[in-house]
Symmetry: C2
Amino acid sequence: MAAEQKKPTSQLRFDLVSKDWVLIATGRAKRPEEFAKHERIKVEMAAKDCPFCNLATQGKPVLEYKDEAGQWEVAVIPNKYPAFAQSGGLNERAEGPYSIMDGVGYHEVVVTRDHKKSLAELEMPQIHKVIDAYQERYLELMNEKLVNYISIFHNHGREAGASIAHPHSQIIAMPLTDPDLQGSINGSRIFFENQGKCVHCKMIEWDMEDGRRIIYENDKFVVLAPFASRMAFEIRIYPKEHHAYFERIKEGDKNQLAEALKISLSKMAKGLNDPAYNFFLHTAPADGKNYDHYHWHFEILPKTAIWAGFEMGTGIEISTVEPEEAAKYLREIQ
Amino acid sequence: MAAEQKKPTSQLRFDLVSKDWVLIATGRAKRPEEFAKHERIKVEMAAKDCPFCNLATQGKPVLEYKDEAGQWEVAVIPNKYPAFAQSGGLNERAEGPYSIMDGVGYHEVVVTRDHKKSLAELEMPQIHKVIDAYQERYLELMNEKLVNYISIFHNHGREAGASIAHPHSQIIAMPLTDPDLQGSINGSRIFFENQGKCVHCKMIEWDMEDGRRIIYENDKFVVLAPFASRMAFEIRIYPKEHHAYFERIKEGDKNQLAEALKISLSKMAKGLNDPAYNFFLHTAPADGKNYDHYHWHFEILPKTAIWAGFEMGTGIEISTVEPEEAAKYLREIQ
């Protein structure tokens, strides 16, 4: 898989939805294969000490799916150290010139039984159940008072912020959408109003015709490297058809989503030496308003770089691998 | 330095300037002293292999300050692997629905001679010279065609993205301001237009009266933990008087800035066991327009946490230490 020697380039690319610039600067690029040399920091924890292997210590599950033997296979539990938790009102108040409100909401953990097996390593029916759990909890939490946005995310590996090695996803239901994220959602709305078409559909259509950034597809989902990737080997999973609301995913489509997720994570694990990564769902807010213009998707970001002073200071992320090259590399991994 | 036992709280705090929400959730908080137990990943490189100890290999310096013995003490060199570099026009173009332009600009490295001594460990006259170098290069680069924003930043430690251990800062001069950062600058303008006062001045005034978030001050500068800290032990250094443009800093104020910077970084190094950190300058864009409403400052972010799936997905950063407690802890460190 010898990469051709290319002249280094430095390109500013604009994200149509978030209105964010990223820089693709290949001057200091490693070839894709070299990312595989990175050794992830692995923090072992014996199953006997693992809170998720000892689920009874974690409080009553809010949801449990059992296997044929009657053992729990996927469980959703309240986070013992919740970020959002207090009940009651928002208690909005000023402190001098500042605004403040209580972190009212819910924080849950979606645990798969096996202490070692990452999501990529699970069998398809188990990944299907994880998606079931995401949906079931989403549908429940969106009805709660003061819940206006629900974030579903997964951190894999210490470098990606996972404090417990046992594979788990998290669900946070909260009272507001951050103005930054709201900006992306508004970007989608404005595009729709001006062009009569979903901006994501437009990008997917172009990318599928162009082909260079496509990593994988099945009937219902397409996996691609976004044109304005913020991180080398960034991946997105989109339903091919226009769907605004993740929680309305059809039963019949879940297998294909499970497949797209498993293949994306497996390609990344094989091609990049099981890197630490984050993934999260972007879907319409859960505030009851109309977001038909939106197009839900998963974003997967392997920790192939550290966003440092430049990225923090300017808001421009630098990636050292062209998305087209990253997609080619991942596409070819079986 | 025993911290009182407090009931965990979860508070959403709003950043007046960036319009960004952060969550201060102390439920999973370590006490400040516990951050000091974190061992930074240290990647050693012998001076004989260090590119900055062998400056002659790096191309001609664009600036050199020498010591009394005639040896270089602070040098500015072009980055050998520049993020922004190409010359010529922006070459703006569309690729299907996407926008793209060349990464035209400048990328320089500000190197201090000692291979080991971090900025915090340098003597005041040397830090003064680093500030001189920042200013002198800023004044030079802002006159370059197509330069509209200049970012000055410093990464310390592998976990903060420093790929070379030898202490150095970086200067990137580029053709645009990212819409996110532009949003903060506009926030400052709108506040000024509505209230007839600089939003930063207003916050500084309140914080100095309140006292709880102040870490250090001298005649000209105040060092504080921002009310909406995105990271535990985040620090900002502000000129007390209203100044929009860093590059216009008066000769007589530089000693006090050097002192504020040295004390901030030293307190962090002592109190948090020499953590990895990033700092960057926020100042008015260099596009020739009027930004008199702005108030330049340095932001320092120790790597006390990893922004993971939730932060990336929602744009809301979670910090586990109250800024008031962080400030108290750092204030008391001598």
